[in-house]
Amino acid sequence: MNKKDRQQAIWFTVSGFFMLMTLAVLAAILYSIFKSGAAVISWEFLVDAPRRNMTAGGIMPALVGTFYVSSLTVLIAVPLGITSAIYLNEYARQGTIVRIIRLSIRNLSGVPSIVYGLFGLGLLAATFRLGTSLLTSALTLAIMSLPWVITASEEALKAVPASFREGGLALGATKWQTIRQLVLPNAVPGMATGSILALARAAGETAPIILTGAAFFLPNLPTALSDRFMALPYHLFILSTQHTQIERVRPLAYGTALVLVALVLLLNMAAIIWRYQMRKKQTW
């Protein structure tokens, strides 16, 4: 074995080992959540409200609240994000200003989520008088998700070959016709995947919603945008740190974690499968 081969073998081994370690950590997390949480999972757990001071019952209001707030987030963030990406990538004259905007967007995606929470509380809840509510939380999460949606959508637009745009324009199509008929249809898979991933992250976020609208416990489901709501991640936080009988409710906490993780994994998997299906159909 010569030196080059040896080097290669070493690096393959080392990188393979670290890959396995990463995988092991992930597996350990999933295993511990599953092991401790699976026992409490039942149909009742999913459709029942917490009972007897949260020591019994299920997580239905938190599940529904998370569904509401994430759906609203997507409804707000995706149209805004996609249209912003179209503007930035297709219309804006590429120059210093657009570079600065793009850089700011990239940086925004690195801002800690608690800061978004504070922003939502200060600006939306207080200044705009939206109060702590479903709407305020969804807006806050939407603002937080926007950078991801914009970035993913821009990548999707960039991946559409320039020859489609040139071909369309050369046939006398307007810029919008070209975008609408040739660029967007081919960017949809990437945009959708990015949006689902943003949705999955929004569903799991805790800090922003604690500050802007998530409630400790509510007897009723939210019926208006101005209502407060329960959410899975916050419910998990309460069960595992704020409850008076933490040891006793631990299985419920793990059950909640399991549902949350399963939800997020399902969303991610849906995104991956969808992307795979669209790629198979994609011919360029």
Binding site: Q94, S163, F164, G167, L169, L171, T174, Q177
Partner: protein, 263 residues
């Protein structure tokens, strides 16, 4: 072919494009230098020259696709049937409908064969099914592709071979019923037999269209064109009938290029 020093009584002449003192810069790099030329109608005009000589740039000026590049600066005038295409009154949608283009690499849209050809007519407002079906059939026939695809019009355009894809792109340009067809090295991505088919097609189209074809293949220029423009380093060195350019060039540089001494 008339060069710029010939008489200048335009309008009721046969010129499609009249270019005067055209200069073009990409940022600070000058790509076209003081180009003046008249391009005759109902002829095939070949543009030859080594890589980077400005021939593709010149072609993209003619349908103003060049304007997509923000750093481009242009001076001089380019008239299409006596109308300056850089004037404010020009409608790019109309210009590009009249001046079609075929690209170096076949670029069928990710749509069916039918929808590829129907793309132009649809965006220009032709909607009825029978109208579209006729146009698609005629365009594919003119592009010598009909027989090969008539039974699978609804299969994706990209399922065709490279040469067929390029003829599909020609059909797509023809469906707009243009006057001019610009071709930017249309065969450089194709194999020899597909190339010959495209060349036959170009010859058959010359009766109905003004064709301007950029090529770095001199044999091709000789085979298909009536007139030839020779570019070098952004300058138009010589413009004449293809026969004269190839047999009796006036400029030493043209002769050197034709005889393969560089490029």
């Amino acid at each position: 072919m008339q060069t710029n020093n010939n008489n200048n009584n335009n309008n009721n002449n046969n010129n499609v494009f009249e270019v005067e003192n055209l200069n073009l810069w990409y940022g600070k790099t000058q790509a076209l230098k003081d180009v003046s030329v008249k391009i005759e109608g109902r002829k095939v005009t070949a543009i030859i020259g080594p890589s980077g000589c400005g021939k593709s740039t010149f072609l993209k000026v003619l349908n103003r696709l060049i304007s997509l590049i923000p750093s481009v600066k242009i001076s001089g005038s380019v008239q299409f049937h006596g109308k300056d295409i850089f004037s404010d009154g020009i409608n790019l949608v109309n210009l590009r409908a009249l001046v079609g283009m075929v690209f170096q690499k076949p670029n069928p849209f990710p749509k069916s064969i039918f929808d590829n050809v129907a793309f132009g007519p649809r965006i220009h407002g032709k909607k009825t099914k029978s109208e579209l079906a006729d146009l698609v059939e005629n365009s594919l026939k003119k592009a010598a592709l009909w027989e090969e695809v008539k039974d699978r019009l609804h299969e994706p355009g990209v399922s065709l071979s490279g040469g067929q894809q390029q003829r599909l792109c020609i059909a797509r340009a023809l469906a707009n019923e243009p006057e001019v067809i610009l071709m930017d090295e249309p065969t450089s991505a194709l194999d020899p037999s597909a190339t010959l088919k495209i060349e036959d097609l170009v010859r058959s189209l010359r009766e109905q269209y003004h064709i301007i074809v950029v090529t770095h293949n001199m044999q091709q220029a000789g085979r298909v064109s009536d007139n030839t423009l020779f570019f070098l380093n952004g300058e138009l060195i010589e413009a004449d009938t293809t026969e004269k350019i190839f047999t009796n060039p006036k400029d030493k540089r043209t002769e050197d290029y034709i005889t393969g001494r560089f490029g």
